[in-house]
Each structure stands twice: as structure tokens, then as C-alpha cells.
Symmetry: C2
Subunit: 155 residues, 2 copies
């Protein structure tokens, strides 16, 4: 089985440069991390803002950030393990988060950032728990996981 938090996966994605505007991959049905399609939605994030904490019991998240910079904090409350990831068009990747982990995300940009979630089930408030932003100890200034390097623990 391995540890739940080790099932958090960052998959670098291709950006195809074009004069009329880049094409940026997000996910294919053959991609690692794809577990079905339930719903796609955007979550905008104002400069300085934070959303979360939230824990899903059934939804797998597949997160892509085409605009801005977003830091994602992920915590396994059972093992007290935590990780910090940073996504945006400059380090363009998809973050796969399995159910059972707490997640919050914070803006790292002076512009509005945009997160696309490609979720494997439709939105269902009964399958998510929430916690206040300050209810979860988390070191947002820890080293972030950088694409191509080893994953590092956030706290």
C-alpha cells in the first residue's frame, strides 16, 4: 500500500509555444492520476487569499494552475505528515491529490490566480469536511516541491 501522502503526485505537463498563444496540456484519460471524470471547475484565488482547509472522502483532485502562482499545503492528519507544492505556468504541472488528505491553497501572486480542478466525481458537500484556516498548523514558508527535484516535507 505505502503511505497515503505518497499518492500525492506531481506530473510535469507540456506547454507548446505558439505565436498566437501557447497550448498548455492539463489531463488526458490515459494520464497518470486520471480516475474518471465527474466535474471540471475553476477556483479563482485573489492576491493574498487562502482557501481551505478541506478534506474529501471520495473525490480525487487533479489540479492545474494556468494563471498566477498557487501554493498547495497537504496534510495527513493521521500521520502528521505534510507537504507543500507550488504550481503555476512557470513550473507547469498537474497535482493529483487522493481522498483522505487535508488540503488548503494560498496565493503566491499579485494577480488573481486560477486553479482548474478536474475531479473524478461531481461536487457533493456531504463528502467533504472543512476546517478553519488557522485550525491546522502548517509552515507555508517551508521549501516547496520543485518539478524535477525530490519531494520535500513542508513541516
Amino acid at each position: 500500500m505505502g503511505k497515503l501522502i505518497d499518492r500525492v503526485v506531481v506530473t510535469p505537463l507540456a506547454v507548446i509555444p505558439l505565436a498566437a498563444g501557447d497550448v498548455m496540456h492539463a489531463m488526458k484519460s490515459s494520464s497518470s492520476g486520471y480516475t474518471g471524470f465527474g466535474e471540471a471547475y475553476f477556483s479563482c484565488l485573489a492576491p493574498g487569499a487562502m482557501k481551505g482547509w478541506k478534506k474529501h472522502s471520495r473525490m480525487t483532485l487533479n489540479l492545474v494552475v494556468p494563471v498566477g502562482v498557487v501554493r498547495f499545503g497537504i496534510v495527513d492528519a493521521d500521520t502528521q505528515e505534510a507537504r507543500l507544492y507550488q504550481l503555476g505556468p512557470q513550473n507547469y504541472a498537474r497535482l493529483t491529490v487522493p481522498p483522505g488528505l487535508w488540503m488548503a491553497f494560498r496565493s503566491g501572486s499579485t494577480e488573481t490566480s486560477i486553479v482548474l480542478n478536474l475531479a473524478d466525481i461531481e461536487h457533493d458537500p456531504s463528502e467533504a469536511e472543512t476546517l478553519a484556516q488557522d485550525a491546522m498548523p502548517f509552515d507555508w514558508s517551508a521549501p516547496v516541491w520543485i518539478i524535477g527535484s525530490e519531494q520535500v516535507l513542508a513541516s
Copy 2:
């Protein structure tokens, strides 16, 4: 059966206003126009730029514009029917385009626009034809379809 171009559908989408950043719906597996998930990708569009013309033989496009303003021109080459749609966060909707129609899109913004395509098959260059931008007569200044009003012919 009806006409192919009448299967082009615009579905208004919900935007949920939040202080930390809006949530903008894109598509659910139960949505009208959903015919399966093959691939999701972003196509950025520089100010003043145009992409197309392209015709898919198998792919159904589901297009959402969370940033900027984009005009989509759609042509049935067999019947010479054409339509013009304008999407962006200010008239936020999903545009479903069945296979067999020519499509091009043009920026209507001074910033880079972003188009999300939720396609029902993975990218396959063998199922798409292309035409030069000026090879298809099209009136980009025609009245656009506005959400909530009747669809209008572009030319």
C-alpha cells in the same frame, strides 16, 4: 436529425462569488453536451490573435473562457451556414461544438485570453483538417450570440 449547426449549444454556467476568489463552473459528467472525457487542455490566445480554421471528424469540443474575451466562428461548409459566439467571464458559458463543423476563434481582449477545451477524445492530428485563416469567408463583425437571447446568424 435537424441541422448539424443546430447542435452547437451554448450553456450558461454558474459563477459563485467568493471573497477569496470566485468558483466558476465548467462541466459535469451529467451536463448537457458531455459525451465523455478524452482530454482537457488550455489554448491561450494573444491580443489580436486568431487560431483556426479547424474541423474535427470525431472530437466534440466543450469550450469555456475563464479569462479574456474570445469570439468563436463556426461554419457548416455543406450548408454555408455560419454562427458567431462570444465567450468570457462576463458572459460565462460553455460552447459545445459537435464534429463536422469548421471553427476558428479570435481574441476580443487586450489581455491574453484562455480557452479551456474539455474534449471527448484525446488529441489525434489524423481526425482534424485545417484551413488558412483567410480561406474561409466569415464576417467577424456580425452580431454575436448573447447568452439568454436567441442565436443569430453571423453571415
